[in-house]
Symmetry: C2
Subunit: 430 residues, 2 copies
């Protein structure tokens, strides 16, 4: 349930997409690592908030309690801690597993690809964070997915907001998870979840509402830095200071046009500690609608400075920031677009079909195709002793093979091969 | 237990190896499919003989009993049956899982890659089978792994041997599994396992011994076709006839020099029905040893005409033949060779480091690197506001970045960039 086979046409499209993403990661100097699909269960527990119940657990393997990885971030943090690595820029493209209620029509599966880029290490503030946002901008631009916006916020600013609104610290994470739903529910519902389920006071909720509905750019950051309450909060001040620096760097990268400082962005995961961000595509069909409507998140990430320390026996921290590209949703978009265009993606790369026009020439085909393979040429033949020439040429047309190398009795006698362009029917003897 | 993380140097080497294998598969016109790492448990049961006990099972997912895939062949057969596909040439490179006792020093893991190429469809005999052997020959030659031999046999010949030696049909598969151990144990031990554990009569075992210790080429096939007992057995005769045809095709491919018709080859899996084969590397260190010693199997496969039918509700059969490349063992060999050569594999592809020789030039670096990225150039910079030039150049040397693009105050004033060749220290202003 919630998984799927990928036929060749899907794999071909997915490979094209993944290679665009990986190219970008390599352009930014990342190295690849690989980790097992299995992790010790205890490594995954307590890292994902409400997601923990979606972890796939295996049967006891003689005392080893294993689970399928839930994302690529926790395995990366474990890898850094186990190998005592304090500095690394890595990417990882692999499948992850979530025992979620699948919504396959909307591209939500229980097994799906993640494409992660992360920078680990103690560096000057906001330089790696800015690069992560640049990467999202490059990938979404390269793939020509239409207009998008990258929402940015900072967990420290959110926590500062909660603090000055009178929320006790023990309720920061539940409040965060509720705020994160603002992109799917109106404020009234978010507010009632805060007061009802999460037990915040109605006054606190109202005060939070005044902040988390704000979004803008540098001018909003400046305004909040002057906010009488927020400016008194150490965490919020730090977060806002860094946000200002981030916007300076993004201005140098020339990408602030697509960036929105959005106080409603919270992200569901427990492990974020600083900057968080999420990219959403904007619907363009309904251009009469005043505000562009988001069609869902296609990338997200943030800073998690405490996660590596959770895996280190001495609790040594390695600050990290990273981004995950939501390849499955992008894949669905590209697939629909390909269907609409009527373009047929080739699923093989065969350059030439080795064919014979008469019977009893299997040996000639086998000899020729073997020479072609040995010369590195992508070649096929039909697995029949005596196939009809028409059938052989039809196979070329059906699978997009551009050339046919034909050896008949005459060609054999003359020591030549007839090379036929399948589309134009032009032939040369060579 | 029995799994491992792959650091960047290993991923770089593995990607190089996988790309050689995939190139070969594409050269032969195969398309890629992808299937979930999870299969319904019932799909895997009864397909692997003694291997069944090594299947990784998951906890009950609300009535779904799942397991991790054990190989890529059974998922391929299920895919064909579910989609009613009767003809396909596909490759699949992915990880599989076996709860085996790990022997990591010898390259045996519980999670490992398989690289499979299979041809499904009703075709003229031995043409696809010959192509599978050609593929093994090409890959092992391309990778320059040293001398190798590809052992070939046919389950029908083996079954014929068992029949004429007086083994009851119910004991064919157990007898097969025991014969398969002849590459690791002497005949005496194999014989005693047959008589002891498998309950064959001593006379039957002795008669089997006379056959299964034979190996050779076309002349052996001819001799066995004349064998008074075997030639009376329908199955054996069919198998020997096809084996002769196979050798004719392999002669046209020019690869019989590396092929050995070996009656001891049995292969452990239940699902094979015809030709089976296995490639082993030959040890070259001890050249005084008379017979070359095998250092283990690096590829294997065979024909399985009944497997797809097991997944089809109406039992419709799709004949298949395929090969699996033992990438992990080959990887270990290449890794040892790389270590011995002292060659250092780069783990990133960065072309240029953007550097500054003075303080307060972070903005210049951010602007330049952003231009380079947008132009598709692989570029890095240090995540420091004011790094020392020496540190920046050392980073190039440590990671193999060939060029440094330097912007200092003078370059900024002149509107140029100084491009430095890290190895030769030559500089040009541009």
């Amino acid at each position: 349930q919630g998984t799927r086979d990928h036929p060749p046409a899907q794999v071909a499209l997915r490979d094209r997409l993944l290679s665009a993403v990986v190219s970008c990661f390599k352009r930014h100097g990342a190295a690849a690592i690989d980790t097992p699909v299995l992790e010790l269960r205890e490594m995954l527990i307590g890292k994902y908030g409400e997601g923990t119940k979606l972890i796939y657990e295996l049967q006891d393997q003689g005392g080893e309690l294993l689970a399928l990885r839930y994302d690529l971030t926790v395995p990366f943090a474990r890898y850094l801690a186990m190998n005592k690595i304090t500095k690394m820029k890595r990417y990882h493209v692999a499948k992850v597993y979530r025992r979620d209620s699948p919504a396959t029509a909307r591209g939500r599966y229980r097994e799906f690809y993640q494409c992660d880029f992360d920078i680990a290490g103690q560096f000057d503030p906001m330089i790696p964070d800015a690069e992560c946002l640049k990467i999202v901008h490059e990938i979404l631009s390269d793939l020509q997915l239409g207009d998008f916006v990258i929402k940015v916020n900072d967990r420290r600013i959110l926590n500062g907001v909660f603090a000055v609104c009178g929320v006790p610290e023990s309720k920061f994470i539940p409040a965060c998870i509720t705020v994160d739903k603002l992109d799917k529910m109106p404020w009234e519902e978010v507010r009632s979840e805060m007061v009802g389920e999460k037990g915040l006071s109605p006054e606190a909720a109202d005060r939070i509402g005044e902040y988390v509905q704000l979004h803008g750019g540098l001018e909003l950051i400046e305004r909040l830095l002057q906010d009488p309450k927020l400016s008194q909060n150490k965490l919020a001040k730090e977060g806002l200071g860094d946000m200002k620096l981030l916007f300076e760097y993004l201005t140098l990268f020339g990408i602030t046009g697509k960036i929105s400082f959005d106080l409603s962005l919270a992200r569901g995961l427990d492990y974020y500690t600083g900057v968080i961000f999420e990219a959403v595509l904007l619907q363009q069909e309904n251009e009469h609608v005043e505000e562009p409507v988001s069609v869902g998140s296609v990338a997200g990430g943030g800073r998690y400075d405490g996660l590596v320390g959770m895996f280190d026996p001495k609790g040594r921290k390695v600050p990290c920031v990273g981004v995950s590209i939501g390849i499955e949703r992008i894949f669905s978009i590209l697939e629909r677009r390909l269907e609409a265009s009527g373009e047929k993606l080739r699923t093989t790369e065969t350059q030439v079909l080795v064919a014979t026009p008469q019977k009893h020439l299997l040996a000639a085909r086998l000899k020729l195709i073997s020479e072609l393979w040995d010369a590195g040429i992508k070649a096929e033949m039909l697995y029949r002793k005596d196939p009809k020439l028409l059938k052989q040429l039809q196979y070329c047309e059906n699978t997009g093979i551009p050339l046919a190398a034909i050896v008949g009795e005459q060609e054999l006698a003359d020591g030549v091969v007839k090379l036929r362009d399948v589309a134009t029917r032009e032939e040369v003897r060579m």
